[in-house]
């Protein structure tokens, strides 16, 4: 006896076995991840889901038949793995990297024997499905084995250590008073990429990125903690509390990290302060006239003297604010993309904003020069 789920795939209903559902879920998740950042990614996803539904419909004889895992596996083989589909649009530099010759190590030998075993199992596969990569380990954060960010889990996989041992070690170091490991951990969290696609997970474990392995990895994902979190299996209140706690703590840590990043990077800080001050100045001039500026605190004004004509001075201010503001938005978007899963601005709008920002800065320079050339007294900043 098996439990089945009803799913709506692209407007069509299917009865799906629970294990088949998990496989479908992982597959679509990986697909979505692969296309998320591409232009028109959502549209491609819709098309693919639609095709998936069509193919499933072809495979079942009547609407009442339950979609089994075998059917899903066959359909996925027909539609293709994310790496196969997305790989056609942009060349993956990782593949070249991975194909670079490596000195044989213990891990590689292990990977080789692994691969041989799998090849035995998949002898019926056509030969062109084999991609010849030597397994080279890359450091990832392991989302399936994590307490906070999966840094230690990933490190443990990378070094072939026990993650619990590594965690205990870190805790001991922490208790012993070496608080510096916290920022180190945070930086690792930010810098080390999370293993999200099946290919990522394979290269994390140093297994060769072959079609068989990727397929196996997608299938294996079922038993992993990540899938467990998404599944409908009941969890105890304590477990749910722990989940929520980890999620909130992780989020807060990341916010903290971004703030630290902003504070630590002097360029960003200066840009933020200058932008803020300029905005205040603009409003002061707009509503209070030049006199209002004098009442503003600080001797900041003596640093950015605008000589000459009031109108040009104001134009300079506006251009400077727009320029710095746009560049700042681009920067913040970049930081957010790095730190959170937020998609950020599309590359095209980023480019446009960057261009407008730079032009504004250039214009502000021109305005400044023009205002300096006008033979009037400096009354913007008394």
């Amino acid at each position: 006896m098996k439990k089945t789920l009803d799913i709506n795939l692209s407007g069509r209903m299917f009865h799906v076995d629970e294990d088949a559902y998990q496989l479908l879920y992982d597959y679509l998740y990986n697909l979505r991840h692969a296309f998320e950042r591409q232009e028109g990614g959502n549209e491609i996803m819709d098309d693919l889901e639609n095709r998936l539904a069509e193919l499933l419909l072809e495979r079942i004889s009547d609407r009442q038949e339950v979609v089994s895992r075998t059917i899903v596996q066959e359909t996925i083989a027909r539609l293709g793995q994310p790496e196969e589909i997305a790989g056609t649009t942009d060349a993956e530099p990782r593949e070249e990297e991975a194909s670079a010759s490596e000195e044989p190590s213990a891990e590689n030998k292990e990977a080789e024997t692994d691969k041989e075993k799998e090849e035995e199992q998949h002898d019926e596969m056509p030969p062109h499905n084999h991609t010849e990569f030597t397994g080279r380990k890359r450091l990832f954060r392991d989302p399936d084995n994590r307490m906070l960010g999966g840094v230690l889990g990933g490190l443990a996989v990378y070094m072939n250590w026990d993650p619990t041992l590594l965690r205990l070690l870190l805790l001991i170091i922490l208790v012993a008073g070496y608080g510096t490991v916290i920022p180190v951990y945070l930086v690792c969290w930010l810098v080390i990429p999370k293993a999200e696609t099946a290919a990522d997970r394979l290269s994390m474990q140093g297994r060769p990125i072959t079609m068989e392995n990727i397929g196996k990895m997608v299938t294996e994902g079922m038993d992993k903690a990540e899938s467990y979190l998404h599944s409908d299996r009941p969890r105890t209140a304590l477990q749910r509390f722990a989940d929520a706690f980890v999620a909130v703590a992780g989020f807060l840590l990341k916010v903290l990290l971004v703030i630290i990043a902003i504070i630590c990077s002097p360029m960003l800080l200066v840009a933020a302060v200058v932008c803020l001050v300029l905005i205040v100045a603009l409003f002061a001039v707009l509503f209070g006239g030049t006199a209002a500026l004098a009442s503003l605190p600080g001797d900041f004004w003596t640093h950015i003297q605008v000589p000459g004509d009031m109108g040009w001075g104001l134009a300079f201010c506006i251009a400077l604010i727009v320029g710095i503001g746009l560049l700042l938005i681009c920067l913040i978007s970049g930081v957010c993309t790095l730190a959170f899963k937020w998609k950020g601005l599309s590359p095209r709008s980023l480019k446009v904003m960057l261009a407008i920002g730079l032009v504004s800065l250039l214009l502000s320079g021109i305005f400044y020069t023009v205002s300096a050339l006008t033979p009037e007294v400096n009354y913007l900043f008394p």
Partner: protein, 120 residues
């Protein structure tokens, strides 16, 4: 150097051209295009087609309309735009040139070169 790699590179290079050729004759559903490309062994997995179609559409070489179908929800019906037609013409010329070059090279006799060299 892997024969399969080179072969798949060759196929990849002309995939857009083939899709446009198919749509030049008649408008079609994505599933029709897949069937034809699979018959010609131009694609291995079906999913490959969709990013290509979306890219061609975003470049305004293709357009589509939703057409009701007897079974299930409406489906996209792709056709070549005017811009696509002119684009295809360019590709046709390029392909012709390429074809000429290749057939020229295929009929090339190595001993002819030595003769020419000695003549000079």
């Amino acid at each position: 150097m892997n024969v399969e790699n080179v072969k798949s590179q060759m196929r990849k290079g002309m995939l857009e051209y083939c899709i446009m050729l198919l749509l030049h004759r008649e408008a079609a559903y994505a599933s029709d295009i897949i069937t034809k490309l699979k018959e010609a062994h131009l694609i291995v997995v079906e999913g490959t087609l969709y990013p290509l179609l979306t890219r061609l559409k975003n470049d305004e070489l293709l357009s589509y309309e939703w057409v009701e179908s007897t079974q299930g929800p409406p489906r996209k019906y792709y056709r070549l735009t005017e811009k696509g037609e002119t684009f295809l013409n360019e590709l046709q010329k390029a392909w012709q040139e390429l074809n000429d070059t290749v057939s020229h090279l295929q009929g090339y006799q190595p001993d002819l070169t030595t003769e020419k060299l000695t003549e000079e």
